[in-house]
């Protein structure tokens, strides 16, 4: 009888610690929808932004003097995620030296494309290349969409608890 009683208390103890672990885990996880979506929400937004940059290049394919532009996707994604970029800081011998100055062309993340065969009127749009980039960007938009959609689906499954 005593042995049985001991066994019971041990079991309930194990049960209780298990419960406590679960509660701790839920508290530590802190269901954050922002974290759950992760990189994909930024990627999707940036893909649609890049689509408008490329569409602008294609629309200006016949504009004299227009220079094709594009963004550094990885760099911009890091900026939107709030991460530091890969650029190394300059060596400074004094605290009054300015650090982390933004380059003029990096203010909005747009860069100029290296022209492969610029035309005489100064236009640097290569329509074939822009179209290829645009289609690729669309596919990558769809990929980012699928990832984000999957995240939302799994969240919904967790919420429904079926």
């Amino acid at each position: 009888m005593l042995a049985q009683g001991l066994l019971l208390t041990r079991q309930s103890h194990v049960f209780l610690t298990l419960r406590q672990e679960q509660i701790d885990r839920v508290h530590n996880m802190g269901i954050s929808i922002d974290k759950q979506f992760g990189i994909h929400q930024h990627a999707l937004q940036l893909r649609s932004d890049r689509a408008s940059v490329l569409a602008n290049n294609i629309a200006n394919a016949d504009t004299p003097g227009y220079q094709a532009r594009d963004i550094d996707f990885g760099e911009m994604l890091k900026a939107r995620m709030g991460e530091r970029s890969d650029t190394l800081p300059m060596n400074a011998s004094s605290t009054s030296h300015l650090q982390n100055l933004v380059a003029a062309e990096a203010i909005n993340g747009l860069k100029y494309r290296n022209p492969s065969q610029p035309s005489l009127d100064g236009n640097t749009v290569d329509v074939d290349r822009e179209r290829a980039e645009y289609s690729r960007n669309t596919m990558e938009f769809q990929a980012a969409f699928e990832f984000l959609n999957g995240k939302i689906k799994s969240l919904l499954t967790a919420l429904k608890g079926e």
């Binding site: 569409a55 629309a59 963004i71 203010i107 769809q142 984000l148 689906k153």
Partner: protein, 147 residues
């Protein structure tokens, strides 16, 4: 939502290319429109394109907001200019429009150039249509998020 901008951008491209097609067709149609003096003769017309800058008016250039790409807003037709190329004077003394020396001035339309322009304009138009179509697909897909 930047996908909405694409409709404006591709739309401005299509409208600019259609202006170009219009001038081309006008040039080809008037390629043989004669006049008795050089002032009244039809001259080839060509549109002048310029890139639209949306950000110049709306936000300051030192706006550091990282979530706004200032990609521009498509293409703008700044105006239509008449060609300065010399008119063709042909000696046709029996033509009713001939001047006192027997010359008739024909327009300075270069048909070969106009045909090349026409093909280029219609290709560019198609490119813009394709861009708009895939932007539409992307938007429709984005609307089904979470379904």
């Amino acid at each position: 939502m930047s996908l909405m901008n694409i409709f404006d951008i591709a739309g401005s491209g299509m409208s600019a290319q259609s202006v170009r097609l219009n001038t081309t067709s006008s040039n080809i149609a008037n390629a043989e429109s004669v006049a008795s003096n050089t002032d009244e003769t039809y001259r080839a017309r060509h549109p002048v394109f310029a890139a639209q800058l949306q950000s110049a008016m709306q936000n300051s250039p030192f706006d550091f907001a990282a979530d706004q790409l200032k990609a521009g807003a498509g293409v703008d037709v700044m105006g239509i200019v008449e060609s300065d190329a010399p008119l063709q004077l042909r000696y046709e003394p029996h033509h009713p429009q001939a001047d006192e020396n027997g010359y008739v001035s024909y327009p300075n339309v270069n048909i070969v150039e106009e045909m090349a322009n026409m093909i280029s304009a219609s290709r560019s138009f198609q490119n813009n249509v394709d861009v708009m179509n895939s932007a539409k697909q992307m938007m429709q897909q984005a609307l089904t998020l979470g379904r």
